[in-house]
Symmetry: none
Subunit: 148 residues, 2 copies
DNA sequence: ATGCCGGTGGGGAAAAGTGGGGAATTAGGG
DNA sequence: CCCTAATTCCCCACTTTTCCCCACCGGCAT
């Protein structure tokens, strides 16, 4: 199981390529072999999952009933934004324009390691997002560190 | 086992041919080798299955209860309109006019990868369909990406 | 200083997507 | 039964996109 952490500033070139930080790459399971799945995040950002982590998520929806219209659309909605991606020889992923637009990404990004996934943010979008967060780090930290 | 994903805009030529996106083709089991089954979807769209996934589906259907009216109707829709289809040398499938009409398809289509099947939609029909769907990406993401 | 690693940029070959001509096959009518 | 019309399918051609590979730059460690 992956354990990504850290915050990194990276650039996006004209071909939509973004390098994955070396420190994050070292935490990718060898079984993933440079294969990632990139998709829309819950927030206005992108999620990048190593193949093995994505498979775990996928397993949870494989058994949804094909007979139920709502569940069919659940899968449709989930998978339409996801894209397979392979690292090139320079350890970059290519992100299609559609996804970049969704996250409001232009030339620069913030790359975050968040446990089992990697998040990619537009710097300005990320700043805005942090400002309007009702839950501050303090309140979360309170909860996490209280329990022992 | 297939894991189709992504959303693609493609064109339909005058002969009713639609190319299968390369990224989807890469997920087709080699055992299917260009053999597909295309049929009416339960929504106003078309379902395309690689041969191996279709076989799995048939197997599952055999085990469904005959007593359930919903399932009997399910079988009817799925099987009476199903047609075998092979990719041509340019990786296209030819779709008969009857099926194109059913889905309201003219010159352009949206191709969706949905785990074990591929869906083909008329762009305008798909827009309309999504407008009235209660399932948004947020609700889906909430369920799938929450950490346990 | 120098070699290596990590990040950035770009040119060119290969693949993918699109369109259409024409042969082969099938169907129908005389 | 044959001829013709329509449809299918095989192949060729053109354009766009992708991706593979090479090159450079800067910092860190040897």
């Amino acid at each position: 199981m992956s354990s990504f952490k850290g915050r990194y500033n990276y650039s996006v070139d004209e071909k939509g390529r973004i390098a994955l930080p070396a420190k994050l790459r070292k935490n990718v399971a060898s079984s993933a072999k440079g294969n990632f799945v990139i998709t829309r995040g819950f927030e206005k950002c992108l999620y990048v999952y190593p193949q093995d982590e994505w498979n775990t998520l996928e397993q949870n929806v494989r058994n949804l009933s094909f007979l139920d219209a709502k569940q069919r659309n659940f899968n449709r909605t989930l998978f339409q934004w996801a894209a397979d991606s392979q690292l090139d020889s320079q350890s970059r992923i290519t992100v299609q324009q559609e996804l970049l637009d969704y996250a409001g990404i232009k030339n620069e990004v913030i790359v975050l390691g968040v446990l089992d996934r990697i998040e990619i943010w537009s710097p300005s979008v990320y700043d805005e997002f942090q400002k309007i967060q009702p839950v501050t780090y303090e309140t979360v930290a309170e909860q996490v560190f209280k329990q022992q």
